[in-house]
Amino acid sequence: MKFVILYGTESGNAETVADDLVDELGTDNEVESVDMTDASAETLSPDALLLVVCSTHGDGGLPASAVPFAELLDTERPDLTGIRYAMFGLGDSSYETYSRGSERIDERLSALGATRVGEYGRHDASDGSLPNDAALEWARNLVGSLDEAQAVAR
């Protein structure tokens, strides 16, 4: 399978998650990891499953590296029909706006026609844990459920 991991980060946690996902999925698949700041509409392709990993900052706002991507989606409004993506949000439940940053990206992608698949993964930093293990488990479950779905379809 082909994956594009698209991460939005401010303090770096989502980037380390992306690094771990590359290590995990890279042995059997074609994987590319892209900072949202460096993404363009061409980064999104129907051939690849997009894994979006995005944190929340300020007061429920986007992390700094996701801002250019959100603006790009708002101004270029690309047609994302046929694009499949899965979401993993990073946040801290001691904020009222828990994980809202990732939802802002999710809303934009689905409004432009992309389809979300699998469970909406989330990590809560309020207990001092890093998101990496939770994200790996989420990705394994996701890939497992996709394999099953494909097996059924065949």
């Binding site: 380390t16 930093a125 890093l130």
Partner: protein
């Protein structure tokens, strides 16, 4: 073309300071240069600077950012050299001679002092009165810094916290947090005792600016609302911070005016905190806006703190009070100043002493092969994420400078 030198066999990089700025820089350089020998030095035997010794122990999510950096040392082949003070144990010149690139990420963590509070007027001599503490000392103590001791520290029943930034908010929250909760976050028993023995009945939080220009983040104020058994009050005018209100100095340049929505948000957060707190509670916290510190008084030990109105632009609660025309005297058995950070007196490494005529401070360049990042480069403002953005741009400058000086061959640097 022939001016360029061949790249060294192994590129050697030394980073001075294992706080967030130094660690993020190490991470970005490692991504670009997988083979380089990168060492991060710190004067302490434990890394992570103010993430370890500044960030409040109950902010576990923020503290966790340090775990990202563990990967650098455990997995990505970056070396940590603790217990090494550059300037004392190793000279900066020596470090530069041994490395292709040296990055200074030493931060600025000494407490800014209020002259009349911390020193005898005019003499610069040490604290005239017992019971006056800097926030740096308190936050280091709370975080178990190895060279701080609780000796002589008592907070008492009434304290005054000077300053209205996030560090002041951290202190209010931690001082009103139950002892068992502090203990669960690893705060040492003697420190908990010094903070909670009073026990505190009243805290005055006094800032120079009007509420809309206060430095704290709205989330920090909201968090105070979760403390049990605390009544909050504020002397800010009911409409302070609202667009158009409290802006009497129409002639002031726009750049100096706080962003209107932001100001409104801060004022609203304080209003909501006050309105949402119980009428009757065992403890009270009073916010005072627009007051400039004047002096501490007492007999051997502080017993009162005096402020004067900041003036028209600052507005003591209500706008339009002339500077110095009103004063505020608050009884206190201890005083904590949380008014920012500065360069340590007699620091071995200061920006001024190392910058050459070839310096380009905007890109973080101080001299050939010598760079600055983080609080040391920008001054003591901004959160941990701001240091990541800074580290990224300085790392990009280092990479561009270095790679331009080498003959580009496909494998030369990676």
């Amino acid at each position: 073309m022939n001016e360029t030198a061949a790249p060294p066999e192994v590129l050697r990089v030394a980073i001075v300071g294992a706080g967030p700025a130094g660690c993020y820089t190490a991470g970005f350089l490692r991504k670009r240069w997988p083979q380089a020998a990168i060492t991060v030095f710190d004067r302490h035997d434990a890394p992570y600077g103010l993430i370890r010794y500044g960030v409040a122990p109950d902010h576990l999510g923020t503290k966790a950012i340090a775990k990202q950096f563990d990967r650098l040392f455990a997995r990505d082949g970056v070396t940590f050299a603790g217990n090494t003070d550059i300037g004392t144990d190793v000279s900066l010149d020596q470090l530069r001679a041994d490395n292709d690139v040296v990055v200074l990420a030493t931060g600025l963590w000494a407490d800014r002092v209020i002259e009349t509070f911390h020193t005898a007027p005019g003499t610069g001599a040490a604290a005239p009165l017992a019971g006056v503490y800097g926030s740096g000392r308190l936050t280091r103590l709370i975080n178990g810094h190895p060279s701080e001791s609780v000796e002589g520290l008592t907070i008492g029943r009434r304290t005054v916290i000077v300053g209205n930034g996030n560090v002041a908010a951290d202190l209010v929250r931690l001082m009103l947090t139950p002892a068992d909760v502090l203990a669960s976050h690893g705060v040492a028993a003697d420190v908990i005792h010094a903070l909670t023995a009073g026990p505190l009945e009243h805290i005055d939080v006094v800032g120079r600016s009007p509420v809309g220009a206060a430095k704290f983040d709205v989330a920090m104020i909201r968090e105070l609302g979760r403390l049990a058994d605390v009544r909050f009050t504020s002397d800010a005018a009911p409409d302070a911070g609202a667009p158009d209100a409290g802006a009497p100095d129409a002639g002031a340049p726009d750049a100096a005016a706080p962003d209107a929505a932001d100001a409104d948000g801060k004022a609203a957060a304080i209003r909501e905190l006050v309105a949402g707190s119980p009428e009757a509670a065992g403890r009270t916290v009073a916010f005072h806006f627009g007051w400039t510190p004047d002096r501490v008084t007492g007999d051997g030990r502080v017993s009162a703190v005096t402020f004067t109105a900041t003036g028209a632009a600052g507005g003591a609660g209500t706008a339009g009070t002339a500077a110095g025309s009103a004063s505020l005297e608050l009884p206190a058995d201890s005083v904590c100043t949380a008014v920012g950070f500065t360069e340590t007196d007699g620091a071995h490494i200061s920006r001024a002493s190392v910058a050459s005529p070839r310096a380009d401070p905007d890109r973080g360049r101080l001299d050939d092969g010598l760079y600055a990042v983080g609080w040391f480069r920008r001054g003591p403002v901004g959160t941990i994420p701001a240091n990541r953005a800074d580290a990224r741009s300085v790392a990009d400058a280092i990479i561009a400078d270095l790679e331009a000086s080498f003959i580009p061959t496909p494998t030369s640097l990676t």
